[in-house]
């Protein structure tokens, strides 16, 4: 037997009829993080969409959680902002108690705890990356559902499907910082070319013992490929 209904995202508590806007407003981005000797390089596109409208074309999806720990957010903007705020608070408290810089794994675990516990309500794919004195540069991925795993290179968001092949073939262990930056910028550009929900500028950040260096690559400065 079929039940037909119209679904609507807002004000569903008052209104028994619902309207689904679109399943495809979730996971609307491309994010990436790569480990190298001495730190990590993280990158993201800069587009936030609500349906077909680009709500923000210069979004910053690289959110600081602690001095040398960042997270790349994909999925529902509201959910990821709320989670990142909560984890920033918890990690700050933990770091004061410990009286030293927190581990990247701790930050990733906090994300995982929250994403797994509230997995039914949340739609968040997060990549946690940073540097700590104990283990150097690390990348942990916490996709939708709440799994956590460490990977040398990780991509996420809707645009990531298009660059799995490129990342698999071009990643090598032991790349330098400049090579990682070039690799990340190229991969993000390729994803932005093909994914309608990704675009704008490429935001990059390098996290290492020295601190955090951020850069932006504008549209006309993006790497070009010979697509005819």
């Amino acid at each position: 037997m079929f039940i037909s209904q119209n679904f609507e995202m807002d004000s569903f508590s008052q209104n028994p009829e619902f309207t689904i806007h679109s399943f495809f407003t979730f996971l609307d981005t491309t994010i990436m993080a790569v480990e190298f000797e001495g730190g990590v390089v993280i990158g993201a596109d800069s587009r936030t969409t609500t349906g077909a409208y680009i709500a923000n074309r210069v979004t910053d999806k690289l959110t600081p959680i602690h001095e040398r720990i960042f997270c790349c957010r994909s999925g529902s903007a509201a959910d990821t902002q709320a989670i990142a705020d909560a984890v920033t608070y918890q990690l700050g408290f933990h770091s004061i108690e410990l009286d030293e810089a927190p581990l990247v794994q701790t930050a990733a675990s906090l994300f995982r705890e929250m994403c797994y516990r509230y997995r039914e309500e949340l739609m968040a794919g997060i990549i946690v990356a940073g540097w700590d004195p104990r283990r150097g540069g690390q990348v942990y991925t916490v996709p939708v559902g709440g799994m956590m795993t460490r990977q040398p290179v990780s991509v996420g968001g809707s645009g990531s499907s298009y660059i799995y092949g490129y990342v698999d073939s071009n990643y090598r262990a032991g790349m330098s910082k400049e090579e990682c930056l070039k690799f990340t910028a190229e991969a993000l550009t390729l994803a932005m070319e093909r994914d309608g929900s990704s675009g704008g500028v490429v935001r990059l950040a390098v996290i290492s013992e020295q601190g955090v260096e951020r850069q932006v690559i504008l549209g006309n400065q993006l790497p070009k490929f010979s697509t005819v």
């Binding site: 679904f7 399943f23 298009y162 698999d168």
Partner: protein, 256 residues
């Protein structure tokens, strides 16, 4: 703002319970259904193919003097059963014209059989080998006129005397497009970045073979409904060569 109706299939008991609810209880019921639907839907791929489909990766690329058309060899039913490990998705419709199929196997076989027949008839009437564009146009007519019933897309590639090597894509609704290289099937999503970055016009045969093998291997590595061996067909003026690259000879990448 409302979109079109969404229908969700539920069991009879559940539907029966729903009928006795009202007001807030009904709202909660619908909300729970919606959340379930969301979670269920997030596990599915976004391809629209139903029934037995090839769940595949196909590609075609033009090089200096010919075309290479290639595919994996897996046929799947749903996402968990491999109904064939060694299917050949490269179908010869004429001496120098090949087709590869993505989507419903049944639809694809029906269309290619029809196209093969019409093409051989056309070529006899014209008293010369058919143009690749003619083959692609026949597929397009069939796909466009039967777009409601069919769920298959095609890549037609070959060589003819008039324009040399060509590649045509006939998509699901019946659009015809000529391209220097093209990819298709469920596994193609994962290699868009790779082919965009690596394709160069006027490659040599060796470069093009390496390009196709790498692209298919990468897609097979990430897509669970593509796999098996790599089938490549190299079409030039002189000959048609079928190359099979078995699983253990495929290129390996950093995490393998």
């Amino acid at each position: 703002m409302r979109l079109a109706n969404t229908s969700v299939a539920v069991s009879d008991e559940r539907a029966h319970t729903a009928q006795s609810l009202s007001g807030d209880a009904y709202a909660t019921f619908i909300h729970d259904l919606y959340v379930e639907f969301l979670i269920m839907d997030s596990h599915h791929s976004y391809s629209q193919v139903k029934g037995v489909s090839t769940g595949t990766t196909i590609l075609a690329v033009k090089f200096n003097g010919g075309v290479i058309i290639g595919s994996d060899s897996r046929a799947s039913m749903g996402e968990s059963y491999v109904s064939s490990k060694t299917i050949n998705k490269l179908i010869q419709v004429h001496d120098r014209i090949f087709c590869c199929i993505a989507g419903s196997l049944a639809d694809a076989q029906a269309v290619t059989k029809m196209a093969k027949f019409q093409l051989s008839f056309h070529s006899i009437q014209m008293e010369s080998p058919p143009l690749v564009k003619a083959a692609a146009s026949i597929m397009r007519e069939l796909c466009y006129n039967n777009k409601e019933e069919l769920q298959a897309g095609f890549i037609t590639a070959g060589w003819d005397r008039k324009k040399g090597p060509q590649i045509y894509v006939v998509s699901l609704g019946g659009m015809l497009l000529s391209q220097p290289y093209t990819i298709g099937g469920s596994g193609s999503t994962y290699i868009y970045g790779y082919v965009d970055a690596k394709f160069k016009p006027d490659m040599s045969l060796e470069e093009a073979t390496q390009f196709s093998t790498n692209a298919l291997a990468l897609a097979m590595g990430r897509d669970n409904v593509s796999g098996g061996v790599v089938h490549l067909v190299v079409i030039t003026e002189a000959e048609v060569k079928h190359v099979v690259v078995p699983g253990n000879k495929l290129p390996k990448f950093h995490d393998e």
